[in-house]
């Protein structure tokens, strides 16, 4: 097994990525940052990520599509959905389609860290 977790982080809000990247790197992850969902989609088709973190509501492509692509590429990939205003229907759809967990905006770095820890745990990475 690898040392580091491969994480793809997608949010059309640039600040989210800028702030979360250092947080995730500090706990020992490789983070690829995307603002454009289409580019992210292409990258997902190329590479198997351990964890994909994606916003659900974005122009052109939404989080559900990202989830589907990621799950298709590799079913061990854990997809964490960031939701804005809790759109219950979409959240339920995401969970049904195999999302690992959801985080509701606004959240703190700690919230994310604990979800990542859970995901790493289920991936077999002990102790991040």
């Amino acid at each position: 097994m690898k040392e580091k977790l491969d994480i793809l982080l997608l949010d059309d809000e640039a600040i989210v990525g800028n702030r979360l990247k250092p947080v995730l790197e500090k706990v020992g992850c490789d983070v690829e940052l995307f603002e454009d969902p289409k580019k992210a989609l292409n990258r997902i088709r190329e590479k198997k990520f351990d964890i994909v973190i994606t916003d659900i509501m974005m122009p052109d492509v939404n989080g559900i599509q990202i989830l589907e692509e990621a799950r298709e590429k590799s079913d061990i990939t854990k997809v964490i959905i960031i939701t804005g205003y809790a759109t219950v229907a979409m959240a339920r759809e995401a969970m049904d389609k195999g999302a690992f967990d959801m985080i509701a905006k606004p959240f703190t770095p700690d919230d994310l860290r604990s979800v990542i820890a859970k995901a790493a745990d289920s991936l077999g990475y002990k102790k991040l």
Binding site: I15, R19, M57, K105, P106, F107
Partner: protein, 510 residues
Amino acid sequence: MTNPLESKSSFIRNSKKPALDTEERDLLARPRFSLRLHMLLVFILFSFLSMAIIIGSVIAINRIQKKLNFVQSSERYLFDIAQARRWEKNYFLYDTNLEDAVQSAGNAKSLLSQSLEKVITVLSAEETATVLKHLDQYIGLLQELTMLEKNNIKNADKKSEIETSLRQHGAEMVKVAAALVTKEQNSINAMLHLIQRIPIYCLAFALLLTFFASRFLSHRLIKPLNLLIESTQRIAKGDFSPVPPLCKYRGEFSAVEMAINQMCNELKSREVAMVESHKLRAIGTLTAGVAHELNNPLNNIMLTAHAMLEDHNDLSEDELLEMINDLINEADRSRSIVRNLLDFARESESVSEPLDLEALVSETIKLTLNQAKVSGAKIETQIQPDLPRIRGDKQQLKQVFLNLILNALDAVEKNGIVKINVKKADSPGFLAVQVEDNGCGIPAHILPNIFDPFFTTKGPGKGTGLGLSVSHGIITMHGGQISIETEKGKYTKFTVTLPFRTVPAVFNKT
């Protein structure tokens, strides 16, 4: 949520009272002159006219009859005189009939004295006196002759002297009597002539009277009725300003006017309530979207603040500065999101102000951005630069465009496109705002109903059906129009035109 609505409508009810009062006062200031009184007056006038005609003809006929009687007596008088003169001639020729002559002359005298008064009115008093004098002298001469005859005095000189005198007086009398008859006959002819004319004059007068009376009546009936028709058509189109005074006087029509104005006030307050309730619903729809929208800057602030808290020792000055700028920008962003919603949601009196249509439409689009995200549609905006300002109520116009955009977003599928186009309209003096979507379109059979209040094809809890009805009212009040172009399954295009030069009349009054 119902509270603001209640307070608003109660405010309307309060403010409506004084308006009604001024109308009532204006009405009371008008002189009372009902239609019934008007007709009664015309009727009385006609009755008086016909009565005058009847009385006049009765009097005239009476007078003619009297004159005829008089002419008859005059003719008998003339006859008696003539008879007397014939007897007189016989006497001088054959020495007979002198007594007959005296008798005829006496008859004439009694006839004359019987209708002396009347004669005086026809001839003058002087002439009557001469007539009498001649008659008296004639009788006197005849009596003198009788005396001579009785006493058998044969005096040829005396006799011929009396004869000439008699001839002279006799001729005078005949002349005057004949003149009397002719004069009276002439006056009868004149009267008959007049009586013949009277019906013609009366007819002319009656025609004139009918003409004026009908003009008066039509003025009082047709004009208010026409005004009424105009007003009801205007009201049907959604302009609820009070009707102009139908009539100068207080009467039946002012009652109608009062009733219509009261109805207008009711309709106006209903409409205000409807606009308000639709607005509340729209705010409800938007609030969800805005709450979501607000989460983004809030999340950014939270993450940035935490990052600063955790790493403040390791951060370079530049990084720190960047984060602080982010904080400020995101706070600003939240503020404008909230402000935009509040701007629309705030309760305020209807005011007319100069408006920049570009800014107004852009702000409205911002309000709907989240709805667009949810329905996965793209909003494309195209705004012609340097458009003139329009006058109107900002919130109300926003409400119209909001409804059109939300309708369009409801109509499109995922990846639908809503095009918003602001430009100068084809008709001069107007700006046009077009909202076009490539959604489901509107089937022809419901097209006539979409502007009806409470007409909706959306499920319960999703649409109130008030949107287009309210929009139509608002745009009409601004002096504009809404038109629609649609093809089922292809597209729907709503075009709102608004005048930019003229000030809408409704705002002048309020």
